[in-house]
């Protein structure tokens, strides 16, 4: 059935506008870009975690027919500037991050040299012909050891492996909280290192126009605009002569929220060689040289009263930063501190973070970035406290929830949660899960000797990033809406979707607000020559922040259109009513004006009121006054195979509140995708370096991603608590699944093992770890 103007699009589970090109194989990702005379770059990377580079002989490589250039750090670093880190942490010790290695390599995968050839196979041949003398040095791999004095140094010139020590604290006096405690519950919790692994690896195409002095950079990135801000300082092309294009991008998850050496390198090569240059990352390079996520180790102490009241949490957390600071590396652990109290009223909190350099790839933002860490910690701690005090874990959570009427709710971490009804989400999740039956089923399974567990997590997270005062490079968003002369609508956004579906969701609300058909709307993004300004896509900000900028534009256009309509009606704007795409002036005239006529008048401009500019276009910068705080409850049931340690998820219920949903199908997809990342994190994913700093998970043969058969059938629900922060009321949903799911699954596994007395397992809870825990416990003397 054809859509008609006036039937709302918002709230409908609509098919995506962007899909036809994707399902037909007609979309253009970076590797699909073809340019005349295109050269291909392949990068030689260090096989050592830490080594001094001696002689580098590229003569044999240069002699291969088809090879155009072979360059090392000595050739390019002076011209490429340093790779930037945007995070502002006081007293941060930072190494100089050159585009190619200088006289040392600091991690396996560190770029040492680049070969450029007419064909990628030949460029790859050239890499094999480069002879590098490495003098291996001791590798720093254990961050907890690395902070001790007398240990080898990742960067000897920094004098220490400690990049920074930073305290996030708030609320009442933490020492007083511990003095008043009846009991202190202690627990050590680790977040393993993870590899984001978008299915599309990174890639860059750079093309220089020497006549105009302009450089175009196509790159598989989430942040074309931040790149346009940051690259000029590296490559010497001014911002207004640099065009950055994020074409179709095959997944990001934070891995493409960065400024990478290869982006500057390809730009430099294109200018230096006066030819377009393409570099496409291999999977091994992606695993070794694209950012990793998480990798935090923390000792936690919780001050509690006998009745379960939590007075405070304090922790010292060691964050393994890897060898270099990428764009946000040191800031990610501090985000953990910001939301460490979760959705609970906890009066005092203190988190000391020690950021440590090791000879590994940098960690940075991976889906959730700081919040999955915090949520895992607080939700594990809630279970630990409940168990140690013999309190029901749901009651303990309920006891610490703020009431819905208490929002906006100020946390001891210094945030103000915008709106919430945590009790509502919990109640709905328990209903959907049939909680009481679930408990009976678990009892029956246990009675039959099976290891059956139920896990719950109630989470809150930070989205819609964010107020500029809290963001390193501005947290606003820009948008532009143009009612064309033909009454088609062009929407341009500064966010850079790569799977989130904003070509669809933006068109949905724009159609409703302008009273046009969705098919008459085009949403453009990702090209800085088209979307002139933007702060891009990360931190679940696209719709909440980017969409709000579009709403501002619509309001401006409608206001202007009313002025024009009033002129045509020979009345004043306050008599004009706009509804479903039609302008009327009730009581003044029976005439109605639709967009086609109005747009024609606006652009033909022969009959405009005095002082009104021609055209119907508006652009806006939206500055969010606060973050948004989505929340929800996840409930998971698992069964553990006693013999093999294998964990099967037998039930998965998620109730997420991301505010009003523009497109429930897309929301569902975001939640399901996020949960899949958590299934991977809890049960099998881990990035492993050995004690020499060799990366052992450098291919998909060794780093396990979830497959279709690992996914349970979900029962998904939602509650709707609008955010007062933005005009759409939207909170954001891109990371919620990953944030809520990890602790729910982990708590379920530990609940299953609880009858054996197992109180802790490190992530990931692999079959071997589970088996080991079972074996250790069941081997204990009977009656113990």
């Amino acid at each position: 059935m054809a859509d008609t103007i006036g039937t709302p699009y918002v709230g409908r589970a609509m098919k995506r506008v962007e899909d036809p090109r994707l399902i037909k194989g007609l979309a253009t990702y970076v590797d699909d870009i073809r340019l005349p005379g295109l050269l291909h770059a392949v990068i030689l990377r260090s096989p050592h975690a830490h080594a001094r580079i001696g002689r580098v002989d590229v003569s044999a490589a240069r002699a291969i027919p088809g090879v155009v250039a072979v360059l090392t750090g000595a050739d390019v670093n002076a011209a490429c500037g340093l790779v930037p880190c945007a995070a502002a942490i006081p007293d941060l010790k930072a190494p100089k991050h050159t585009v190619l290695a200088g006289d040392r390599v600091y991690f396996v995968g560190h770029a040492v040299a680049v070969a450029v050839a007419t064909d990628p196979y030949i460029a790859r041949d050239a890499i094999d012909a480069i002879d590098v003398d490495y003098d291996p040095l001791p590798a720093v791999t254990n961050p907890e050891e690395a902070v001790k004095s007398g240990t080898p140094l990742t960067h000897p010139d920094l004098g220490s492996n400690i990049a920074y020590t930073h305290v996030v604290a708030g609320g009442s006096d933490i020492d007083e909280a511990f003095r008043r405690a009846d009991r202190v519950v202690k627990h050590r919790l680790c977040h393993q290192r993870l590899t984001p692994m978008p299915i599309e690896p990174r890639g860059v195409v750079a093309s220089y126009d020497p006549g105009e002095g302009t450089l175009t950079l196509w790159t598989a990135t989430q942040i074309p605009h931040l790149l346009r801000t940051l690259l000029p300082g590296m490559i010497g092309v001014p911002e207004n002569k640099l065009r950055v294009v994020a074409p179709e991008v095959g997944g990001g998850f934070g891995a493409k929220l960065n400024v990478y050496p290869e982006e500057a390198l390809c730009a430099h090569l294109a200018m230096r060689l006066n030819a377009p240059v393409k570099w496409i990352e291999s999977r091994r390079e992606n695993a070794a040289s694209t950012i990793h996520g998480r990798d935090q180790i923390g000792e936690y102490e919780v001050a509690v009263k006998k009745d379960g009241a939590i007075l405070g949490i304090r922790t010292r957390t060691v964050a393994d930063l890897g060898s270099y600071l990428q764009l946000l590396t040191p800031a990610i652990p501090t985000l953990t501190g910001l939301v460490l109290t979760g959705c609970y009223r906890i009066p005092a909190v203190k988190m000391e973070i020690v950021g440590v350099y090791t000879n590994k790839m940098a960690t940075d933002a991976y889906r959730g970035a700081g919040r999955p860490e915090a949520t895992y910690l607080i939700e594990r701690l809630m279970d630990v406290v409940a168990r140690e005090l013999g309190i029901d874990r749901v009651d303990l959570r309920l006891k610490h929830f703020p009431a819905p009427a208490e929002f906006p709710f100020a946390t001891s971490c210094g945030l103000t949660y915008d709106s919430g009804n945590y009790q509502g989400a919990l109640t709905k999740a328990r209903q959907l899960a049939n909680w009481d039956q679930l408990l009976k089923d678990r009892a029956a399974a246990r009675a039959a000797g099976r290891l059956s567990g139920i896990g719950i997590s109630t989470y809150v997270e930070i989205c819609a990033m964010g107020p500029s005062k809290a963001m390193p490079a501005g947290g606003w968003e820009w948008g532009c809406v143009r009612m064309e002369i033909s009454a088609k609508v062009t929407v341009i956004t500064g966010v850079s979707p790569h799977g989130q579906g904003q070509e669809t969701t933006f068109a949905q609300f724009v159609a409703d607000r302008l009273g046009v058909l969705m098919e008459d709307i085009v949403v453009l993004h990702g090209d800085t020559n088209v979307a002139h300004y933007g702060r891009d896509t990360y931190g679940s900000r696209g719709t909440a922040v980017g969409g709000s900028a579009i709403v501002m534009c619509i309001d401006k256009i409608v206001a202007k259109a009313k002025t024009l309509a009033a002129h045509l009606f020979e009345t004043t704007a306050d008599h004009v009513v706009f509804e479903k795409g039609t302008f009327r002036a009730p009581g003044v005239t029976n005439r109605e004006i639709g967009w086609p006529e109005l747009a024609g008048e606006a652009y033909v401009a022969k009959n405009l009121p005095a002082g009104l500019e021609p055209g119907l276009e508006a652009s806006s910068f939206y500055e969010p006054q606060n973050f948004t705080f989505p929340f929800g409850t996840h409930i998971v049931a698992v069964e553990v195979d006693r013999d093999t340690g294998h964990v099967a998820i037998t039930k998965y219920v998620a109730v997420d509140d991301c505010g009003p949903q523009i497109n429930p199908l897309i929301v569902e997809g975001q939640v399901q995708g996020g949960i899949a990342h958590s299934i991977g994190q809890v049960l099998f994913e881990q990035t492993i370096y050995d004690e020499n700093g060799q990366l052992l998970t450098g291919e998909l043969m060794d780093y396990a991603l979830p497959r279709a058969a690992d996914i349970p059938e979900y029962i998904l629900g939602s509650t709707v608590t609008p955010s007062p922060v933005n005009p759409l009321g939207i909170k954001g949903v891109g990371e919620a699944g990953t944030i809520g799911a990890t602790p729910a699954i982990a708590n379920a596994v530990l609940d299953a093992l609880q009858p054996l007395g197992v109180t802790h397992l490190d992530l990931p809870m692999t079959p071997e770890r589970v088996w080991q825990a079972i074996k250790t416990r069941t081997a204990a003397p009977v009656g113990a």
């Binding site: 392949v42 990628p120 196979y121 790859r124 041949d125 094999d128 291999s282 091994r284 013999d643 093999t644 294998h646 099998f684 492993i688 052992l696 998970t697 291919e699 998909l700 043969m701 060794d702 780093y703 396990a704 991603l705 079959p767 071997e768 088996w771 080991q772």
Partner: protein, 280 residues
Amino acid sequence: MYPAAFDYKRPATVDEAVALLVRHGDDAKLLAGGHSLIPAMKLRLAQPKVVVDIGRITNLSYIRDTGGTIAIGAMTTHHEIDASKVLHDRSPLLPETARHIGDTQVRNKGTIGGSLAHADPAADYPAAILALDAEIDLVGPRGRRTVKAGAFFIDLLQTAIAPDEILTEIRVPATARTTAYVKTEQKASGFALAGAAVVIGADGVRVGITGVAAKAYRATGVEQALAGQRTPTAEAIARAAAHAADGVQPLGDIHASPAFRAHLAQVNTRRAIERALSRA
């Protein structure tokens, strides 16, 4: 990502292929389904100067019932084995094992001959081949010879195939329905951390184990413990299966410690025996 250059040869017969191996020696590699060789070439772990593509040799892809045994051409794909009615009816362990290999796409291209010749210690077939006591034909410049499964796997990635020989045929006996393959997979690659193949017949129990040690092996300790027991009790099966890793040095890596591999060998052997018996 990009393999090194090589000369490509596409022999039409086994004899031509053998002649190419003789001529090029260590410089040559046989290309069957390509699922072991091509990834290694893309990562430049293998850089043969000559690739001998045996994919167009006629009469290397077949499954024939020859009475007491079923003969399988070396170039028969995993999918063809999985889909074979003859094998399902007469020797069902091999199709059950084939279904555990990789994924649909890999099974459509990968071949039994290629897999056996590569002798990955975590490949699935070797367990079944050993439990079936299969025979393997090798053809070289000195003609054809037959190797019993027990003598075929020499060590990690090493078999009885001489550098100038080609594996041409595998023969497995017709069996009763009482066979099974139970495997714990390495989560990322799908290869076996421990796979146990069991054949239970009038002549006793044979157990092949893959993934656990540098080469697949017969779990003779299990076989002996069950000798003479036509319908062993659950306890007897468990006691026997506890010998599944006796006398071997289990492998250890990031995916499983030696102890866990040995344990999984025991668990999967027990489960395979139980499953095989349940099919009686």
